[in-house]
Symmetry: C2
Subunit: 419 residues, 2 copies
């Protein structure tokens, strides 16, 4: 039924190689309004066309001074400076500062020529006779943001491949980007197969179940930045499957075919892939998810996923997620949603496979514990209840209670516990 | 300039109390198509109207049997059972199983009456004479999913207040939800103030800067599920500010007023809030973000945020994020995006304030280290470079190098490092 099982690492390598060839280097991209850019992926390095802020600014309310005029000043021995006006907000500070002079300035105001620092309001006293007493000396540069301190002309603000976050929109607005070039979202076709599957709107007869996978997978694809093209349900019929996969493969960059867990149905999926293109992998050393098939038809990735919802989701997150990262040429910005926890009980791993265990996180004795959810892989509710996955590598025989593990949190997990 | 500073905890308590009164218990909600539900918040408990799968199913390819007919079977002493047909996928398994009988069944097939388990294909051998030899005994229930094993009629699938994740769409489709009731997204008005602020499309003259905060805050609001209503830039003029805040407060559930970092501008924001409603808090023991003002005008929350981009973002994440959680009556599903790391260097905390330190995560010596970014709070680029925030509580004097900390990751941090 299978040839030799491929390791997860081996499958990912084959996937990477095949997609690099099929998709090449360039990606279609589009320019969209800045505010629509949240969560989209930068199509090229976004480079600052200016220095930011562009002029030396005060970071406090106070008095622009030449630092050397304040050296040694203290409450008992204040330095009197001549007050020669005020910097207007949003205006060029026209009047240069002479020796022994000070100008009033508000936070964000432009430092006048020759000023190299700002004395905070609370350390100065206006005498009403045209002088202000400085009661604390400052160093050059104190309470001042330099002209290019935030960004310099030519700096890469956002490298190609970053997923745009809220702060990025601010930074891009700050240097005058009104639009942002982003990689186009790839269309991902989704098919469910099996004589027992009916659409959610149908009333299932005994022996029938509603289509769970199409909707769970659609959610996964959307969360990873893809666009979905629902291809419906195909009964266990070779010709209809072939016809439908061929149609979707012509329109999409990736087609997910879930179900067909039975031997016969799997054979159909395999035959269809053989006919439309080539099969790269059939059978992966992973639990859940062993019967996975990876194929390629032209520049369209075909993923034959198991019918069990849990298996389909785990395999999609690993293989489909990787493919979408390759499409977007995503560069990780940081550690991602990984939580260190202790494993909640002793658990033996599958022999010769990588195990992916669904877990719930509980907070106990000041630590996070990852409690495995041991429902069958057909159970959608176990996925709804899970917070993430723990991977047990091939070479490990299992996990002991209390052993430190890293939990890969699901994308939906953005709400926070206060800890 | 300020009264006594309120602690962060105190400010959150005042916010909670005021919004509970202003917004009451009920929220406007709408029914939307299931596939549009990703990331939206359930407006009520979503309850299963059926048992799922609804009938006993096989979880493997093999032979439906009565477990007791297989007891003691082994390769050397197989149990021969009479093969009396095959369960068709998607059909009711009509023919009950008699003693000593087996029926072929595929994964997902409906168990015939009287069958209580399934023998896997690889442990059975069809003899071709109408018999199948079972080479491994099974227990009752083996390789079988019970009729209500995934979900029972009346089970809460998704509690009110959960943000919908991919698996949830699958579970809801599985029990026949085509639409999902979600809480309406609140409209959040965003205003920037200051004579020095120009829109991103303008070419700033010396002394002027483009509007960073409106776009960074818009991103934050969108990431937390709100809808944005950009109110533009208001110069440092009391009457125009008053007019614009009043207009937005009439249309929105929350108005963010950023900027006005100078004493005069802050006074305007404060006066406007006093006139339109009431000020709850003016000045919070937090760094960055001390000059924050919280007010209420009718059922609209007014947040006066500092002008520095970093300060504005930190304060929004704490106060604005909390307000949006209260609007959606969100229930956390798990630990959220929290990373345990070691702090990268010695750092003194502000006296009498909670400190929020931007950090980058690096992986070193097999551990995550949180390296503080020590740029000024006016720096937008430091936010772009940061992965999250580390909180130093009021009572701590600082952090030591190597000290364990929890990093609250920013929402955009969904890419993953392989570790």
């Amino acid at each position: 039924m299978f040839g030799e099982l491929v390791t997860v690492e081996g499958a990912l390598d084959l996937l990477d190689g095949a997609l690099q060839k099929a998709w090449g280097i360039d990606r279609p991209w589009e320019e969209i309004p800045l505010l629509q850019g949240l969560g989209r992926v930068a199509a090229r390095d976004l480079i600052s066309p200016i220095d930011l802020p562009g002029f030396a600014r005060s970071t406090v309310d106070g008095y622009a001074v030449r630092a050397r005029d304040t050296y040694g000043a203290s409450e008992s021995l204040p330095a009197p400076l001549r007050l020669v006006g005020e910097v207007a907000m949003g205006r060029m500070a026209a009047k240069p500062l002479g020796p022994g002079e000070a100008q009033r300035i508000a936070t964000g105001g432009m430092l006048p020529p020759n000023a190299d620092g700002v004395v905070m309001l609370e350390y100065a006293l206006e005498l009403g006779d045209g002088f202000v007493e400085i009661m604390r000396g400052i160093s050059p540069g104190e309470n001042r943001l330099q002209a290019d301190e935030d960004l310099s002309l030519g700096d890469v603000i956002i490298p190609r491949g970053w997923t745009l976050a809220p702060a990025d929109l601010g930074a891009l607005a700050g240097v005058g980007f009104l639009k942002v070039p982003v990689i186009k979202e790839p269309l991902v076709g989704i098919l469910s197969t099996g004589d027992e599957i009916v659409p959610p709107e149908a009333l299932p007869s005994p022996g029938q179940v509603r289509d769970i996978n199409a909707y769970a997978l659609a959610g996964e694809v959307l969360a990873k930045g893809g666009q979905i093209h629902l291809g419906g349900i195909v009964p266990d019929d070779y010709h209809r499957l072939q016809e439908q996969v061929a149609r979707l493969a012509g329109e999409c960059r990736m087609v997910l075919i879930s179900g067909g867990s039975s031997v016969g149905a799997r054979d159909h999926t395999r035959r269809v892939m053989d006919e439309l293109g080539q099969v790269l992998v059939h059978g992966i050393a992973i639990r859940p998810g062993k019967p996975t098939i990876i194929g390629l038809a032209g520049d369209c990735l075909l993923l034959g996923l198991p019918g069990h919802p849990v298996s389909a989701q785990v395999v999609f997150q690993i293989l489909g997620g990787r493919a979408l990262d390759l499409w977007f040429q995503r560069r990780p910005r940081g550690p991602g949603a990984v939580l260190a926890a202790r494993f909640g009980r002793n658990l033996a791993a599958a022999q010769g496979r990588e195990d992916y265990v669904r877990v719930r996180i509980v907070h106990r004795e000041g630590e996070f514990w990852a409690e495995p959810i041991l429902a069958q892989s057909g159970s959608i509710n176990s996925l709804v209840q899970a917070h993430g996955l723990v991977r047990i590598p091939l070479e490990k025989e299992g996990l002991r209670q209390g052993e430190p593990v890293k939990v890969h949190l699901f994308a939906g997990e953005v709400a926070r516990w206060e800890i």
